[in-house]
Symmetry: C3
Subunit: 327 residues, 3 copies
Amino acid sequence: MVTIATLGSHSALNILAGAKDEGFKTLLLCERSRTFYERFSVADEIMYLNSLSEIKDPQLQETLIQKEVVLIPHGSFISYLDIDSLETEFTVPILGNKYLFRHESDRNLEREWFLRANVRIPRTFSPDEIDTRVIVKYHGAKGGKGYFTADTPQEFYHKQKENEEKAEIQIQEWIHGVTMYFHYFYSPLNRELELTSIDRRYETTADAVVSLPNREPTYVVVGNFPLAIRESLLEQVFDIGDKMVEASQTLHERGLIGPFCLETIITDKPEIVVFEISARIVAGTNIFVPYSPYSYAKYFEPMSAGRRIAREIREAVARGRLKDITT
Amino acid sequence: MVTIATLGSHSALNILAGAKDEGFKTLLLCERSRTFYERFSVADEIMYLNSLSEIKDPQLQETLIQKEVVLIPHGSFISYLDIDSLETEFTVPILGNKYLFRHESDRNLEREWFLRANVRIPRTFSPDEIDTRVIVKYHGAKGGKGYFTADTPQEFYHKQKENEEKAEIQIQEWIHGVTMYFHYFYSPLNRELELTSIDRRYETTADAVVSLPNREPTYVVVGNFPLAIRESLLEQVFDIGDKMVEASQTLHERGLIGPFCLETIITDKPEIVVFEISARIVAGTNIFVPYSPYSYAKYFEPMSAGRRIAREIREAVARGRLKDITT
Amino acid sequence: MVTIATLGSHSALNILAGAKDEGFKTLLLCERSRTFYERFSVADEIMYLNSLSEIKDPQLQETLIQKEVVLIPHGSFISYLDIDSLETEFTVPILGNKYLFRHESDRNLEREWFLRANVRIPRTFSPDEIDTRVIVKYHGAKGGKGYFTADTPQEFYHKQKENEEKAEIQIQEWIHGVTMYFHYFYSPLNRELELTSIDRRYETTADAVVSLPNREPTYVVVGNFPLAIRESLLEQVFDIGDKMVEASQTLHERGLIGPFCLETIITDKPEIVVFEISARIVAGTNIFVPYSPYSYAKYFEPMSAGRRIAREIREAVARGRLKDITT
């Protein structure tokens, strides 16, 4: 009997609540300080770790395999496990295709994915090419920390010097428009792409009602708002999603599996410009527990992103195809 | 046995999901490119059209009448059918009062409606009268495309010359405050006005977190956020709604039927200033599938705008009064 | 048999809908003009009053006691009953600890509470000490009316002179970040702190998409948006909540009982800075009728703030402990 497990952060409430909805046993792997998960009813068992990176420990992995765990990866999971060891040494079955995480974490590989899918993306620049407003981003999922904008090479060099972040950067064209985050689910069992929900991030300090003079806005994501899209744009939304799934199969033979997210900006054409992909569940789905308008129009019952994952696992188990949705 | 049908755009997922909730057969009329509706479970049947304007075809109308279709109109429906032919040549029963669509599409007739209802509205100006900030709008439901602001006659003429839109305009006082969109339902069967939900539109580029220097914001609606109102303001909300229903009966003997929406701005008095009416379902209800706080406090079950429509049709059929809610 | 009652404003739909969900009889005390409550199905009985302050009338109180009423207090309730008479002369059982309302209404007592809890709060200033951006607030729950900002003593004195509000003020450091409102429920029966939901207020004119030149933004709350928080911040959220509960027991022996709210700003560290507490239900919970992601992860059923209150009353009645949750 499969147990659904995840790490205590990011979208764990969503994932485990969905697992309970589908009747699974649940396990949470969690730092000792995060006892707050005990205040909810989502985890049948909590294993406290000194650090989430203990998940790499072979002994612990063995224990999880004994428990027939399927582990649901999320943004924090990817931060704590380095991708090399995840690909080569991690043996617990993971829902999704872990060989694509590299392509969401490295902005150059991510860009390659977008180009293969032929979706509209922001132009990129070397510092000296900057001739329009750009936004400067770091590699990896850091929740927007340290991002800054510039209009000229001079401004770029000046701000980069002040910045503490020393990771690799990518300089993107600033797309003028509003952000939207599309949460998809690709089912290998049904060979079907679904839209589970849409959110808008809440960023501090960019979303402060009053901006302070002489203070650059920051883009640290601290929450999410639920959103519905103008229905005529759904054609583009599914078109882009389909293209990303198709292109993913040229990056790794098994392609995208399960939940993924496209981070976009909608211009006033209106056109959807994609600037990031996450090849796993994204926290913007959390506000849609237990209902989303889009999943309701398919399932006519509560269907969160977490539950959709658990539903796929339940069906895979029933059909003896769990190996088709895990890596 | 009645079939509930609508066109594939705007709020079709909402409308058809609600129809399924109430046990109706459903039909979607849809452009060929919009196959994405097949990914949801709302349409029992999809008829693909080369263009939505084929809905005017007498043969197609005959087919729909044979199927005992009740057609649910929405913003895209009104754009595709010109109002003259809708009033005189269209024979498929439409939920709502189609003779009021003229009054939402023509800003002068709309203004007449507001004046009869005696609700607070923005002042209007001729170009040379502009002595405060104004917003310039085009007639018809174009999702905010081409709107611009001006503070002086000079600025108005300058911006108008640059603008590509050549439709008729209305120049409105810029009301300083926040937007709110109230979704009502007037039941002729119960002679009762309900509030189904409230939203705030998501407009690009006006809602972009950072505005670009020397670039006028644009007001293209691309999504909707759910919202609850300060409860003490509900008195005004129902008062305004009642007045608009009453005034509608002086415009056409049957008055408003079913869903309608008042587009408003709330000032810091706080006072509700109405700037538009839609005499049919509005897409801002889409985020409230399947639940809304306001419909829950009446029905204690999932009650989207789409379902509320279907419920009214179900009751009308049961009482043999379908003719009282269709035109 | 207990009847759940409240005053017709603020969060009455939420409170009474929750009471109905739990099977209680409900009573609404309401001004004559607010007949709109009759359009919903939440009140079994409505008693119309000429003014909500009639609630102080001993005869009326006697009637309520006869009906075995438990009264649910909210922001409007506190405005209409002066706190002295509420503490000494009001005899109808109130859900919650009415002896703490003084500590939310007086900014100095509130500050004492924060200091005892040792949570991060904005610095306060006397007018002449202003050396950074500050926000000037009035005592009591006035929905943000009259608040203003200043950067210098001169600006403060200038704006204060123009302002009509003459109540006592508090000058707070302007915290740069985004607002979040955390809705908690402390159960004395289970000795447990829960998070029921999170919202962001909609303020006019501060949230207007375009600000007007030479016009100070105003902060009148007219609505609420639903929100989910970045999950890693929940540790801080519960930590702060626990500290406020603990500190409340040093202010009054019975401490916090039932629903309360912390009004906060999230900086880009990210750190949660608390600037207000409400020792009772707050209207930001209204958008979460009937569902919230956080209450779902505990109860796996619709659980609004109103219903959570009613559930506690139901359990208290069943265990003969109603006196433990009322004052």
